[in-house]
Symmetry: C2
Subunit: 391 residues, 2 copies
């Protein structure tokens, strides 16, 4: 499968007149070479890719499917490999969204007259459609959410702090071989690997990290995520969990009430679910991502809660979901601006939320696989408002 990924990228590069790609980010190297050890991967538009090993040769040899290996990962090694391939001019694809400026400038200087161009759109386009191995991995990640859910049902109680519950959820996920790190493509994003866990008044906090329920966190150094606040009886509690198992992410959210839910809480959750149902019903190949967003807007109006849909006031997001895989936030973004057409084997998260000050933030997010004629939910926990029994 790995070698097919390389061939597919070579085809895309040929179409765009990119003579070679230089892949340096560990996650991007992992996708094309099967290892996240420090390596640089040179992919000519035609011919055999070469993996240049910066460190940990023994590990790389065990891990990669790339056959052509070379020890030494400096840019002069890269230049040597390109020269041997007869590549000395033209467009060189690099990932401009995750490569630091300092390295980019070194590449531009050392490899001139090769001209760096941004490879990331091609690479992310390719990654939108998952192969069989990736789908297996994504399914296993999504399955692990059940452990987070059961931990919340068993441990969330009045007096328990959000961070205490977060630690227990983390522990449950780690025992299922989840990583303690969630990955974002966006350079300035950062999320706790147990996701956003918050309750009560913190469920209608929207800090800057994204237009979503963020909670308030522990300090101004990262003012979102779980806080030291103790949960109270009757409060709404949410988990918005973007998490990573063996490199692949799922993004799943559920809403809870500490004790019996009120009629009003149930009504708002029904509205969230109605919005998600309407979007899910549209999902199949050949539908535009934008159409899913527009359906969610229409559905939100019909619930009567549009003022609180994806935020409120100045803090209102315009999206209903996103792709995910090796990173939590991959294309397509499902928003009013996205022309991308759904294809079989895309994996998407659909995440309506109603965030109502003085009542609560209610969210329902599921991770799903686009199938030949619809979709399959990879998240297995029921899509309902959960009442936590207080004993």
């Amino acid at each position: 499968m790995g070698l097919e990924r390389l061939k597919r990228l070579q085809g895309l590069m040929q179409d765009k007149n990119i003579v070679a790609a230089l892949i340096m980010h560990p996650r991007d190297v992992f996708y094309y070479a099967g290892t996240a050890q420090p390596c640089n991967l040179v992919i000519p538009a035609r011919g055999e890719p070469c993996l240049l090993i910066r460190r940990a040769e023994d590990c790389v040899r065990r891990e990669t499917w790339v056959e052509n290996l070379l020890v030494g990962g400096s840019l002069s090694h890269v230049k040597g490999v390109l020269t041997d391939l007869g590549i000395t001019g033209g467009q060189l694809g690099v990932t401009e969204d995750n490569l630091p400026a300092a390295i980019y400038k070194k590449i531009a200087g050392t490899l001139a007259p090769l001209q760096p161009v941004n490879l990331s759109p091609l690479l992310l386009e390719q990654r939108m459609v998952k192969d069989a191995g990736e789908i297996r991995a994504l399914r296993a990640t999504a399955n692990a959410f059940a452990a987070a859910h059961h931990t919340i049902m068993a441990q969330a109680r009045p007096g328990v702090k959000e961070i205490e519950l977060a630690g227990m959820v983390y522990s449950a996920l780690r025992n299922l071989e989840c990583e303690g790190i969630s990955r974002n493509r966006r350079w300035d994003a950062s999320l706790h690997s147990e996701g956003i866990i918050c309750a009560g008044e913190n469920t209608w906090q929207i800090a800057g990290h994204a237009m979503t329920i963020t909670g308030v966190g522990l300090s101004n150094s990262l003012a979102w995520g779980p806080s030291a606040r103790e949960m109270q009886k009757g409060e709404v509690l949410i988990i918005d969990l973007g998490f990573n198992r063996h490199g692949y992410h799922a993004d799943i959210s559920r809403t809870y009430v500490l004790g019996r839910a009120t009629a009003r809480q149930k009504e708002v959750f029904r509205a969230v679910k109605a919005i998600q149902d309407r979007v899910l019903a549209l999902i199949r190949p050949n539908v535009a991502a934008r159409d899913l967003y527009e359906e969610s807007e229409k559905a939100a109006w019909e619930t009567g809660y549009h003022d609180y849909f994806q935020g409120f006031g100045k803090m209102k997001g315009h999206y209903i979901g996103h792709g995910l895989g090796l990173e939590l936030d991959e294309p397509p973004t499902i928003d009013p601006h996205t022309d991308i057409i759904l294809q079989e084997n895309m994996v998407l998260a659909i995440e309506p939320k109603l965030i109502i000050p003085d009542l609560g933030g209610f969210v329902l997010e599921d991770t799903l696989l686009v199938t030949a004629d619809g979709y399959e939910l990879l998240s297995t926990v029921p899509r309902t408002l959960f009442e936590i029994e207080l004993t």
Copy 2:
């Protein structure tokens, strides 16, 4: 204190003929403006800094000490602010080590004829010396290590998996308001927030992430950190914990034996401690970082274990420690190439290790504050080889 940081940077900029700085990375904005919400900070070499708010205005107004605020964070807003300050040409400082190439190129295009230059060396030079608030924060972080240590003493047992212990350590740290994310300056680094926890044969694994005991992790997507391997009686167990509380990092490591330590294990640990003692004895203002490294080399030779000092064979590191603060890996790096002279109020981690195949990896790492006439250990757990009682 925050305003003094801005003034100090302005002085450094004046010396280097940098007319203005544009700070965009959340961690760097946090240092100079007190908020990690999405903002861009414009600092003229002379005159009043302006914080441009990209999102979450209410949060930013609560969090920052910068008085001059403007809503709107696009580069044309930045250009407007610079123009109002009369700054239209000259050197513009940006952080080229953490700014993606795509953003750098937009800055260079939009703000021309201002010429971007790398501000990161100045910024990191300033951050080497901590102010009173930072020292308080660093002390609190280092104190929290005791919870990780007590968890290991209480929970590590034959049959427990490395990831299980990692989850318990994480939980203990989270309860003390530690963040679930450790920060690195290096663009391609990533560490679990419970650090490296591994035992037995995994303590002599050195994967590519750094020349240190890495363990083997859970998959090729991140082939270091805790694994699903069960610990065994008599094995060496280590924790190398780089962690973050309220934004500030400590880096502390301890070595354990599951049961009674053998004479050989004790002897190797004594050698590690002898190396650390020798380095610590040198620490005071006006000593060169390089001299600490050279002392560690000399001491390692004298122990007779130099072949295993900071790794073995091809996987041998040439360092004995590093600075830390808002990131785990700040200057100075304490290695043979670093001219930097120690100053009062630097915070350093000193981390000798002996990694001996088929015996174990032994590490002792402490975080300390350089004082007027020596140093103060911020890590409070005894510097000894711990024997975990098996009941």
